[in-house]
Symmetry: C2
Subunit: 291 residues, 2 copies
């Protein structure tokens, strides 16, 4: 059993959000109000002038490593922001959930508080890009998570494409989660810490979803399928999205055409076994998952 | 059965070279004559001035896609050379094997001829980097492929590290292979075309091996383990290395710290099924493999 299977299981058991990609799916009785807007990328996109691949996703850390217990931060947010103004990730010691939005980095903690991070603070895994809204969509109201993902599938037609997705608006309900911090050098696999997750249920809230839909072939290094983090308008709460019910929202899509991965330059990473059979971990996730 | 398993099988059946990474292995009765040389990277390395990640591996195409039949070139060598002066790959329509060496791109064809490519010619899959020799090793003579890879394993101690490897020198024997071109839009999986491979056996030859050892977590997108292409001193023959016996050689190592992948922006790629069960393909490789 490889890590990608574990990732899928973690997602379906509530540790991470996930849905199958079925781009041809069209919801019955849902009228899509799609408005396509092509904007001038030169004006909108804030590229790192040093990047030769501007429309690229930049990832630090390996997703399978984080799932397997590599929680120690190794990459400062100051450096991360040089590669993107939009994204998500995990903080040093798994102390909450990271949201990168409009060039600022926030940490949604298990206490329910969301705070800005310091430039010198570290992430153990994060992905960012310079977001350019190349398409703007206005979906119908009242979509639950499944309907919302099916709606996105109906417009993101390349199953092997990489999409950065920004949603702004009102939500009837929003359920997020955040993990409490682990101890220094603690490497308990994430699947064994499901009971530590803290869940938060917000009603009639307003804010932003920051996330991606990534293709299956990126599953070992990133996390395939949909993956969103939430940040409230007041930047005072957020977290990893577990469930939602939309109200008035606007969706912005940025299609990416390449990606870069910078693995950790740490001793823990050097010794991490990417071939390890994690079947037992999956069972414990299935037993211990809260939803 | 996922593509990574197929890749491993293809390698072990002779379609691609492969060996398990066992970094702690030391050959009995082999005295390693290792000389470490740290050079000034500023003087040696020819970086793309636009690259913000200079010590990076750049890949166009997805390895699993090539294995599964995506042979149509989509990325010109002129662009490829902007991302590296050293590397390997596959030409448009699988017409031989690509070697990138000292900033020039060569195609070793199934006819036995090796020729320079044109800038506007296309690759379907290639990986390149700007090579800097950060370590130089002089191994004992007379290593067969297994002993040679074990020797490399004994010095490349990070099993999750990415290493570009250049070998210059004399070889007692060198066995390479190259595929003949497929037809336009032909997507027969590589595993079903093993009988078309052309093998070449060179004796007491002199030239360069250009290659990589990549970690297991890159298996779906690149090809993990060792992977070498050969180019003769006269640049008149070469190909994908199937077997070898070393004579006097010098090994140069360049440790890479990040990698970028640019998937094909083609309709064929959009419709490629990375989840497909390729177990039958593997059986046909096992039946049809020439060695």
């Amino acid at each position: 059993m490889r890590i990608n299977s574990l990732v899928a299981t973690l997602m379906t058991t509530g540790l991470m959000t996930f849905t199958a990609i079925s781009p041809s799916f069209c919801l019955p009785r849902v009228t899509s109000q799609v408005s396509l807007t092509r904007k001038n990328s030169i004006l909108i996109k804030k590229n790192n002038p040093k990047d030769s691949l501007p429309n690229s996703l930049f990832t630090v850390g390996i997703g399978g490593g984080l799932i397997g217990g590599l929680y120690d931060g190794f990459y400062p947010y100051k450096s991360l922001k040089e590669h993107g103004n939009f994204g998500l990730g995990a903080p040093d010691k798994l102390d909450g959930e990271i949201i990168v939005f409009e060039g600022k980095v926030y940490k949604a903690q298990h206490t329910g508080k969301t705070v800005p991070v310091e430039d010198q603070d570290m992430t153990s895994f994060a992905m960012v890009n310079f977001f350019r809204a190349e398409r703007t969509l206005t979906p119908p109201k009242g979509l639950n998570k499944t309907a919302f993902f099916h709606y996105l599938d109906s417009v993101l037609t390349n199953v092997n494409g990489m999409y950065a997705i920004h949603i702004k608006g009102k939500f009837k309900t929003m359920k997020t989660r955040a993990f409490p911090p682990v101890k220094a050098h603690q490497h308990t696999p994430l699947a064994e810490m499901l009971n530590l997750q803290q869940f938060f249920n917000y009603k009639d809230c307003q804010g932003d979803l920051i996330g991606y839909r990534l293709p299956y072939f990126m599953d070992n290094t990133n996390i395939s399928g949909y993956h969103f983090h939430y940040l409230s308008d007041q930047k005072d709460n957020g977290g990893h999205v577990i469930d939602l019910l939309t109200d008035d929202i606007v969706i912005e899509i940025d299609t990416l055409d390449s990606y870069t991965i910078q693995p950790p330059a740490t001793k823990d990473f050097e010794h991490f076994d990417f071939k390890k059979n994690r079947e037992e971990d999956i069972k414990s996730v299935e037993r211990g998952g809260k939803n």
